[in-house]
């Protein structure tokens, strides 16, 4: 009966980020969500728990206090309990800092586990570092970019996707995996899941309850809007529109 730790992050939904007139990012209309890839990590943890005939899924996240919404959201997606390390300064952390805080929480509060699951990257920074860094800080084996996973006899067997194909690997437990989106289809929580989530235990951890300073190493000088906008001429689906479409292609010189 496996104990699986699922890491997740409450992030800005990038679909609502607007570009301000000054080229800055406009976050005024944004909503938040559990990172897309982290949903696969939670689902995989729940799947392994259920396949193992019991056990539990312990969710863990690091963030500013307003990430509390994300903790409840995560609990509605199959987690049994959650650890929430929060502090106003835990906003916009570097991956190295997030990994260090997660490692400290796991070391001091989760004495026994079989597996840690992480998404392949966060939906906001997508630096793809926290998983492998966390494995190193805990001194456990690490398998990244997993698209198929099973646990048996104290080890994991995983298909990891690399550029030249698939590596089928095994590693002794406890270990850490980062999972690809096609490993499963995350559940969409129903009303009952949301109600149940409110009753599940959450352990809140404040910064001063953690040992360590969690300093960053890089400095973000600026975060500016990228410009993908083009002229955006819309044509009708009539004969004139189609003729103009093809004519524009020809004039641009891209058709040979």
């Amino acid at each position: 009966m496996p104990i699986v730790v699922a890491c997740f992050k409450w992030v800005v939904d990038e679909a609502y980020i607007r570009k301000g007139s000054d080229g800055k990012l406009d976050f005024s209309a944004v909503d938040y969500k559990i990172g897309e890839y982290d949903r696969n990590a939670i689902e995989e943890a729940a799947r392994l728990r259920d396949a193992g005939g019991g056990g539990s899924v312990i969710g863990i996240t690091v963030g500013a206090p307003d990430s509390a919404k994300g903790v409840k959201d995560g609990l509605s997606r199959g987690m049994d309990q959650a650890f929430f390390a929060s502090d106003p300064s835990f906003k916009d952390l570097e991956p190295s800092q997030t990994a260090a805080i997660l490692a400290e929480v796991i070391r001091t509060r989760i004495p026994q586990f079989d597996l840690i699951t992480c998404g392949e990257g966060s939906s906001d920074l997508y630096a793809q570092q926290v998983g492998p860094r966390l494995a190193e800080l805990l001194g456990i084996p690490c398998v990244c970019f997993v698209q198929k996973l099973s646990l048996e006899g104290g080890k994991l067997v995983a298909d990891r996707r690399v550029e030249d194909g698939i590596e089928v690997v095994e590693a002794p437990l406890p270990a850490l995996v980062t999972v690809l989106p096609d490993i499963n289809t995350p559940r969409i929580p129903g009303v009952k899941d949301t109600l149940m989530a409110g009753k599940k235990p959450v352990t809140a951890i404040k910064k001063d309850e953690l040992a360590g300073s969690f300093e960053g190493t890089l400095k973000t000088e600026a975060m500016t809007a990228s410009s993908l906008e083009r002229t955006g001429e819309k044509l009708a689906a009539d004969a004139a529109g189609i003729a103009r479409f093809v004519d524009s292609l020809r004039k641009s010189g891209v058709i040979r």
């Binding site: 690997v169 973000t220 990228s226 083009r230």
Partner: protein, 315 residues
């Protein structure tokens, strides 16, 4: 003397990383060290193309993954403290870069799209994409080392220079890794490499059935291009191989022409085509985000519009 390291699995990676390393080395007054597998080519060539020193990674037993080299590389890094360590952001490269950074207590800039040394401040300046490509994050590092992963094909491969000399040394074999490879399944080469395509017709969720992709293929043929796809088609529906998935987490392409059919235009996908010369779209939803990110497009059902475009192209 300052040091720049590149760590590569293949020749292609080594040449691009040497190109990246050489762009930094003169300003930093740094020596360039290439840590490469033997498959990355003869050390003489690596030296001729810019390395001052080559560390050869020993061959591993068949069940050992590339990551097994980590403890040896860590030890070398701790002994000589390089300033910058460069990897290609391949699956193995990304994993090893993050693990090495953790072991060295170093910062890591993932998916670095711009890299420069700022002499005045003595810091490395880096740029990367964030928020699915909606933002550019500008980072600096004054601490050393800083680890950097660069996407494939971001730097020109280093060219051969005359009269270059350097030392070569073989690194020791690492202890066995806890992760063991049971089987390697090479990729079946079903799809053409769209990263080199001049024209890409990309199919999105607007297609109702897998069979209907024939329409996209037909347009690709008419334009002399290749077929690409958005992530739902490769990872949820499995209608097309994952190599054809364009976007931040798939392949990034730079065709002369990109045509999105039934593609809504999510930022993660469109970031993958930002290098395209012309972007156009066919989508029945006039409010689809792709229109604002296109040069021009037709508002209409792809099922009605695409056959007419093909017909018009024949004229």
């Amino acid at each position: 003397m300052a040091g720049i390291w590149i760590i590569a699995e293949t020749r292609e990676q080594a040449l691009e990383l040497l190109g990246a390393g050489r762009s930094l080395a003169p300003g930093m007054g740094a020596a360039l060290t290439a840590i490469v597998r033997k498959e990355a080519g003869p050390p003489e060539e690596t030296i001729a193309r810019g390395a001052d020193e080559v560390f050869l990674l020993p061959e591993l037993p068949p069940d050992q993954p590339f990551g097994a080299h980590l403890p040896v590389i860590e030890q070398e890094a701790k002994a000589v403290s390089p300033d910058v360590i460069l990897f290609i952001s391949s699956a193995r490269g990304k994993e090893m870069a993050a693990r090495l950074a953790a072991r060295l207590g170093a910062g890591l800039c993932s998916g670095c799209t711009a890299l420069a040394f700022d002499k005045a401040s003595g810091s490395i300046r880096m740029e990367r994409l964030a928020y699915g490509g909606a933002a550019i994050q500008k980072l600096t590092s004054s601490a050393k080392p800083v680890v950097v992963t660069v996407p494939p094909r971001s730097f020109e491969p280093a060219q051969t220079m005359d009269g270059r000399q350097g030392k070569t040394r073989e690194l020791p074999s690492p202890p066995p890794s806890a992760v063991r490879i049971l089987e390697r399944k090479p990729k079946e080469k079903v799809a053409k490499d769209i990263t080199e395509a001049r024209v890409i017709v990309c199919a999105g969720r607007g297609f109702d059935r897998k069979e209907d992709l024939a329409l996209a293929r037909e347009l690709a043929d008419a334009l002399g291009g290749e077929l690409g796809a958005t992530r739902p088609l490769t990872e949820e529906m499995h209608w097309l191989p994952e190599d054809l998935c364009i976007g931040l987490s798939g392949v990034q392409v730079k065709p002369e022409l990109y045509v999105g059919l039934g593609v809504s235009g999510q930022i993660q996908h469109m970031t993958g085509v930002r290098g395209a010369k012309i972007v156009c779209a066919v989508n029945r939803d006039e409010n689809a985000p792709i229109f604002a990110l296109s040069d021009f497009g037709i508002v209409g059902s792809l099922y009605e519009v695409v056959p007419k475009i093909i017909e018009e192209l024949k004229k």
